[in-house]
Symmetry: C2
Subunit: 168 residues, 2 copies
């Protein structure tokens, strides 16, 4: 779809033209720009959920959480230029993307709960905030190596949440 090239800032007129649709038709199917974006990426977010389930089965808790966060970083990578959309996905002020957002919340919560239950991790923030921090990083720093930075941030976050690391 046109989003891929133009980012989420592509004008809807443009998108409609690229899809050989009248602008009116586009609006009927996707009343808001966000509805359109969510539709475009629903598959990917679902995959993210499935992978989480698999990771939970095959990896020890913290490992699974870490792996999934790294995947999430890649996932973010596929949305370069669509940062606004991402924001909403992980629970922006508006309740757009409620569906995908809720799913993301559920998935990360599951992984985190497992890790907490194992006693290896101590968490006192909303698990979604982890995703928010990562998404924020991507949103802001679109430099060539943001992804590397994000991966390191994952490690820092994991380490920072590890039991026994919070002396203060």
């Amino acid at each position: 779809m046109a989003f891929a090239e133009k980012g989420s800032n592509a004008s809807l007129d443009e998108i409609a033209r690229a899809a050989s649709l009248g602008i009116g038709t586009l609006y009927r199917h996707f009343p808001t720009r966000d509805a359109l974006i969510e539709a475009v990426y629903r598959n990917e977010t679902e995959q993210l959920g499935e992978v989480a389930a698999r990771l939970a089965e095959t990896h020890p808790p913290v490992e699974a959480l870490r792996e999934w966060l790294l995947l999430f970083v890649d996932y973010i990578g596929t949305k370069q230029g669509m940062s606004e959309a991402l924001n909403s996905l992980v629970g922006g002020p508006s309740d757009l993307y409620a569906a995908s957002g809720a799913q993301a919340k559920q998935v990360i919560a599951m992984l985190v709960d497992r890790a907490v239950a194992s006693g290896e991790i101590q968490l006192d923030i909303d698990p979604l905030d982890l995703l928010r921090a990562l998404a924020g990083l991507a949103h802001i720093s679109a430099g060539p190596n943001w992804k590397q930075a994000a991966r390191r941030l994952v490690d820092i976050l994991i380490a920072g949440m590890s039991a026994g690391c919070r002396e203060r």
Copy 2:
């Protein structure tokens, strides 16, 4: 300034009117919206720098870093609705806010370097990424308690960077 009420989305027409300026005059002084925003907040960012210097003198390294990060969270708080601007401030893709951005970079680098030199902290990411993560959090989660979440994130980050916490 009108930003305070309308956020950074206030139309420039509106701003000009509020300031009893012609739109043309506004544009001559501030060629871009970002130039205007930077001008508005230059003072605050400078203060942030001064406080950093003071903290460095009066607190042990890690403590100073932590305090300053918490201040940064508050600073972010004053910019609710101006998230885009903030993004650029901590080094977005475009080189807007080069001045303030460079200053922020210098300040955080100084604090981090001190902490690393003390051996208490081990850092393998760009110090600015810490700010990016925090700013990202604020940008995305405009919920009522984002600030609390951000503060906790500061602790997690500090803990995660602490030497001896990175077993992996």
